[in-house]
């Protein structure tokens, strides 16, 4: 969906920058099959998550021509509909699918409106609004990122036990980070970190969202 948005808007002083919080080998087939023509960067050590206090994917940031954050990190067009799927068959009820499509389409239309109208867009936050919305880490999260970085480094050097121990500590310090946990969690037969452990963590959220809804208004 990002490629078609990029194709549509690239002549309007706009670019998409994709950041894979992932290993190059794991990201490669996805990037190649999406036939992307915008920059697709590899962030094995989750530097961008550390810098921007990002906890999951997809989260996106809107940045204007001056390098100013117009919308801080937020869920980019996803919703919690997947929690209502049949876990045996993977089937999702029609109304849930429709809502998922609506949220995605709304997000895309909001990006388009911002690219075309700039600060006049209803979803372009002014400095006061953006500053109120931006959320920095606390000391525990900062330590979690340091330990995650150490863990990823140790894993890349073949120190599997030490690396896993550091990352386990990181995920314990920063339980809200799905990115840290899923990067190193076991994968199911389809290659996703969405086995029983994943669902147990999702269920433990209770009424809290997996994808906190972005506060996006329908462009006028």
């Amino acid at each position: 969906m990002w490629q078609s948005l990029f194709d549509e808007l690239k002549d309007h002083n706009f670019t998409v920058v994709a950041v894979a919080l992932d290993h190059a080998d794991a990201a490669r087939p996805w990037i190649e099959s999406a036939k992307t023509s915008y920059p697709c960067l590899i962030d094995r050590e989750h530097h961008v998550a550390d810098l921007y206090n990002i906890v999951n994917v997809p989260q996106a940031v809107w940045i204007d021509e001056q390098g100013r954050i117009v919308r801080p990190p937020e869920t980019a067009g996803s919703n919690d509909g997947f929690r209502k799927m049949d876990r045996k068959t993977g089937a999702v009820p029609d109304d849930v699918l429709a809502e998922r499509n609506r949220v995605k389409a709304l997000y895309i239309s909001a990006v388009r409106d911002w690219v075309l109208r700039g600060p006049a867009s209803v979803n372009a936050l002014d400095e006061t609004q953006a500053a109120a919305k931006v959320k920095g880490p606390d000391d525990t999260i900062a330590e979690a990122h340091a330990r995650f970085r150490l863990g990823q480094h140790l894993l890349s050097r073949g120190q599997a036990d030490e690396g896993r121990a550091q990352i386990a500590q990181a995920t314990k310090l920063h339980p809200d980070s799905w990115a840290m946990w899923r990067q190193t969690a076991g994968r199911n037969e389809r290659g996703f970190a969405s086995g029983p452990e994943f669902w147990a963590r999702v269920d433990a959220l209770g009424s809290r969202p997996y994808y906190p809804p972005a506060d996006i208004a329908a462009p006028g």
Binding site: L5, N13, F14, T15, V16, V17, A18, V19, A20, L21, D22, A26, A27, W30, I31, E32, P39, C40, L41, I42, D43, H47, D50, L51, Y52, N53, P58, Q59, A60, V61, W62, I63, D64, E65, G67, R68, I69, P72, A76, V111, W114, E127, V134, G136, P137, D139, A142, E143, A146, R147, R149, L150, H153, L154, E162, A179, R182, A185, G191, A193
Partner: protein, 137 residues
């Protein structure tokens, strides 16, 4: 040999010492590893200087080296290490990260694409940027 990771830097320090929670580096090594400078007024970066308290000088300074890990923690920043491989991460503290975000200037970074070509976020200045994260997991 000790490896120090800070932000996106990775540096090796052959002639140095680490014991327990202490990491002893001289001024040149500190600058190389972190970009911070050890000055008479303390450990400094930009406008910030974390002083070495005179009462703690014996604990924090030894043979022309500074216990960077202890100073790092004094400045409210995480310093963690792996004993076996002598690898240290001098992380960036919550206050620094939060101040950078509160300024609303998008924190800059450089990352490679699949071909190994490096891209800086700031090279797209002058355009609107939708930066999104994704993953295979």
């Amino acid at each position: 040999m000790i490896t120090v990771l800070h932000e996106q830097r990775e540096t090796q320090h052959p002639d140095t010492a680490a014991d327990g929670d202490a990491l002893w580096l001289d001024g040149a090594a500190i600058e190389q590893a972190t970009g911070w400078a050890w000055k008479p007024e303390g450990l400094c970066h930009g406008d910030i200087c974390v002083p070495v308290p005179p009462a703690k000088k014996n604990e924090l300074v030894r043979d022309g080296r500074l216990n960077v890990a202890a100073m790092w923690r004094r400045s409210g920043q995480p310093a963690v290490h792996d004993q076996a491989s002598r690898t240290w991460v001098l992380g960036t503290g919550a206050a620094q990260r939060s101040a950078a975000l509160a300024s609303l200037q998008a924190p800059d970074f450089a990352l490679p694409d699949l071909n190994g070509q490096e891209h800086r976020l700031s090279q797209y200045r002058g355009r609107k940027v939708l930066m999104y994260t994704w993953a295979s997991w």
